[in-house]
């Protein structure tokens, strides 16, 4: 049992942190970037590709680096720390994860190779309007004629869907055949992009007889695999939230030490320092759960990963809301402004939760299983 990073992981953290600091050290740079299409910095995306970060999760034979979950978690934490709008979770972890899990060798070599090289952006279209974290598709239907597949329906929100070159789409198979996954060229769909509360980008995507290629062998019900990739994305999203929360606590602490009211700094008031202490408690508990869930992935057991995703999802959602709300409150008015990172960070925490799974969702799933075990075991 070991909760510490090795030297290589530490070096990766410093390298990614260094690169992101050149881009987003001050929050204004982030504001400028999200103001214009595509909502992220393509040059920075290219530099992340050069560093091998975009190919981190994928096998070397597919153009990737073959790193483990801890390394990917480190990248997500660093992205969260500066609220980087680059669609790493959506494109690399989620859509790339689906391709890596389900694609044929040729599809993996092609799509993951180009994704790792920064040549294409992928996005996963797996949510229907009004849909809620389901691994069974209900908004998009697949049809087949001979060997030719087409899709009809709407997916929304598709995170990074507006800037994606290739969409990885979950769709209901004909004849109640379950849920398949398809690759669709973004040129073959109708897209309407928009910004979420944190100014990151998503899109509404309409399929109207759009040409689609099954990922891997056609016609299989892939719902269990889709669920697992969602769980993995949830855990990496929790890593990203952790980075945000660390920045929120630090910014709030700094602010309490520097801001003067009534002639003294705010940390003179015990009511405020106690609230900051409680934020720290939430942060450290969430940090422990994030590390644990990330390490659980390495065990490779699908049910263990599902359990870990629910547990970390619940903990991080609770912590994120507590820390995000308190960060704004303790900053006072400045926390409400778009020019200051704290308020946007709070929005980002919510966007991650509502996209990947919020607290009631995870709690409901855990509650359903509560009598299946005697004790929750931290160590196997």
């Amino acid at each position: 049992m070991d909760f510490t990073y090795d030297d290589e992981q530490q070096a990766l953290r410093e390298a990614v942190r260094g690169l992101l600091a050149t881009a987003y050290a001050d929050h204004d740079a982030r504001r400028r970037t999200v103001a214009d299409e595509p909502g992220f910095d393509r040059a920075l995306w290219g530099r992340l590709a050069e560093m091998g970060v975009l190919g981190l999760p994928f096998a070397e034979e597919h153009g990737g680096v073959g790193a483990g979950p801890v390394e990917i978690g480190i990248v997500c934490q660093e992205l969260g720390r500066v609220l980087a709008p680059e669609p790493y979770l959506a494109s690399v972890v989620h859509a790339g994860g689906l391709v890596a899990a389900l694609g044929s060798p040729e599809q993996k070599a092609d799509l993951l190779g180009r994704l790792s090289a920064g040549e294409v952006v992928l996005a996963a279209a797996d949510t229907s309007p009004g849909g809620r974290w389901a691994s069974r598709a209900d908004g998009v239907r697949a049809s087949v004629s001979g060997d030719t597949w087409t899709l009809d329906g709407v997916a929304d929100p598709v995170v990074a869907g507006g800037s994606a070159d290739v969409l990885v789409v979950t769709a209901a198979l004909p004849d109640e055949g379950g849920t398949g996954v398809f690759v669709v060229d973004a040129a073959d769909v109708e897209r309407t992009g928009y910004a979420a509360a944190d100014l990151s980008r998503a899109a509404s995507v309409r399929f109207a007889g759009s040409a689609a290629t099954p990922l891997g062998a056609p016609g299989r019900d892939l719902a269990p695999s889709i669920a697992t990739i969602s769980d993995l994305t949830r855990i990496m999203g929790a890593n990203q939230s952790l980075g945000v929360m660390q920045s929120q606590v630090r910014a709030t602490t700094d602010y309490l030490k520097s801001r003067k009211q009534f002639g003294v700094t705010l940390n003179t008031f015990q009511a405020l320092t106690f609230r900051a202490a409680d934020m720290y408690v939430s942060l450290e508990l969430a940090h422990s759960m994030v590390d644990w869930a990330t390490m659980t992935i390495a065990g490779g057991d699908r049910e263990a990963v599902a359990e870990a995703a629910d547990r970390v999802g619940l903990e991080v959602s609770r912590a994120g809301r507590h820390i995000g709300q308190e960060a704004i409150q303790l900053h006072g008015g400045i926390g409400m402004t778009a020019e200051y990172a704290v308020g946007v960070g709070t929005a980002h925490l919510e966007v991650l939760d509502q996209w990947l799974g919020n607290a009631p969702h995870h709690l409901s799933r855990l509650a359903g299983r509560v009598t299946d075990h005697e004790l929750v075991e931290a160590l196997s």
Partner: protein, 383 residues
């Protein structure tokens, strides 16, 4: 980063689990697991079983029975004890005065007290708090005045936990009223059978007799029972209280209590609201347990992880929250808390209200949770 225990640590844990579940009398473990009160004899018997195996004081120096374990091994030992319902070795002996005597005592004091302390042949009480010196311990007023070779002690201590069982009491006393208040404090070991020592029970809100007042009237204490130097008491107290914080989050016991509720209130586990409360608590306990492991993992170099102060704060909150759940699950049955043993209400339900009330202490003792927030905000966040 790696989740699994090393083979050696896994084997260590298995050895602990086997010993605790087979060698400590079942009746004692059932008493703990059912949440009933242990008798003095049960606590003594259990500690002697552990001590015979070298498991009562593993964190002491090896020459006095310590085991030279890693922090992780000590953590596993502690968790497995709680999981099996084995009473934790009496904290006053094992965690407080034992390490103090080993660190600050004379060779004569070590030889005289440490073996008996480890084996619970001496039952120690703690004489720190006073009516006007709780969290502000340095304000204590009990005095010790030199008279020849002896000290003469006068004053009053309070919140002396299990003092009714005590053979000896380690006390902080004011030996020099002229200097800065921290500098005038010394530590004395006092035989509780000495004339002038009087123990008076304090009745608590749960109806139990757990704490006491201890009064000292012209109590003569031989000079060789001073620990360390005169005026060194504050330093010793800080050392002792630092030890007290280790293992202060009763994760294993709280997990066990929550799991027990799933069994005794099985019918209510069909209620979605109840299931949600259990699931939420299980998750919070997991986060706390993992934090304890992170702290242990980082403590290897001797420096405690800064998150260690989270453990007491959150550990006691969760201990209290589980006692609240038990009370809510008991419902009307909880009114029978002082009914006779032949009550038709189940034991766990009858105990739920006293337990809930009793655990209100957890966020007060050992440095109140407000003190913990102060530590976090000052020493970790620099506020």
């Amino acid at each position: 980063m790696q989740l699994e225990l090393s083979p050696a640590d896994a084997e260590f844990r298995a050895r602990m689990r086997e010993f605790f579940t087979t060698k400590v009398p079942q009746e004692i473990r059932d008493t703990v697991l059912d949440g009933r009160h242990l008798t003095r004899d049960q606590i003594v018997e259990s500690q002697r079983v552990l001590n015979a195996e070298g498991l009562a004081v593993p964190h002491w120096p090896t020459e006095w029975g310590g085991q030279d374990w890693t922090d992780l091994q000590r953590h596993l030992w502690h968790e497995e004890m709680q999981r099996a319902g084995v009473p934790i070795p009496l904290a006053f002996n094992a965690s407080m005065i034992g390490p103090v005597i080993a660190q600050f005592g004379t060779e004569e004091q070590k030889a005289r007290f440490l073996p008996d302390t480890a084996n619970l042949d001496i039952w120690w009480s703690q004489g720190f708090s006073e009516p006007d010196a709780g969290s502000d311990l340095a304000s204590l007023r009990t005095t010790a005045v030199r008279d020849g070779d002896d000290w003469v002690v006068n004053g009053q201590k309070t919140w002396t936990t299990l003092g009714q069982h005590g053979d000896w009491i380690f006390t902080l006393v004011r030996t020099d009223p002229e200097v800065k208040k921290q500098a005038g404090i010394s530590m004395l070991l006092i035989d509780m059978t000495t004339p002038g020592v009087e123990v008076r029970p304090i009745e608590l809100i749960d109806g139990g007799h757990e704490v006491n007042e201890v009064w000292f009237t012209d109590v003569r204490v031989p000079g060789d029972l001073l620990v360390g130097e005169p005026g060194q008491g504050w330093t010793i107290a800080k050392f002792l209280l630092g030890n007290e914080r280790v293992g202060v989050a009763p994760v294993g016991a709280t997990k066990r209590a929550l799991a027990g509720l799933k069994t005794v209130a099985a019918a209510q586990m069909e209620d979605p609201m109840v299931r949600a409360r259990v699931a939420e608590l299980e998750n919070q306990l997991l986060a706390l347990e993992l934090t304890a492991l992170r702290v242990v993992a980082h403590s290897a170099g001797g420096e405690p992880h800064p998150a260690s102060s989270v453990l007491k704060l959150r550990g006691t909150e969760l201990q209290q929250a589980v006692s609240e759940l038990a009370l809510d699950l008991a419902g009307p049955a909880s009114l029978a808390s002082r009914a006779d043993e032949d009550s038709p209400q189940e034991g766990w339900a009858r105990r739920s209200a006293p337990t809930y009330l009793n655990f209100r202490k957890a966020s007060i003792y050992g440095g109140s949770n407000e003190i913990q927030r102060q530590i976090i905000s000052r020493t970790i966040l620099g506020l």
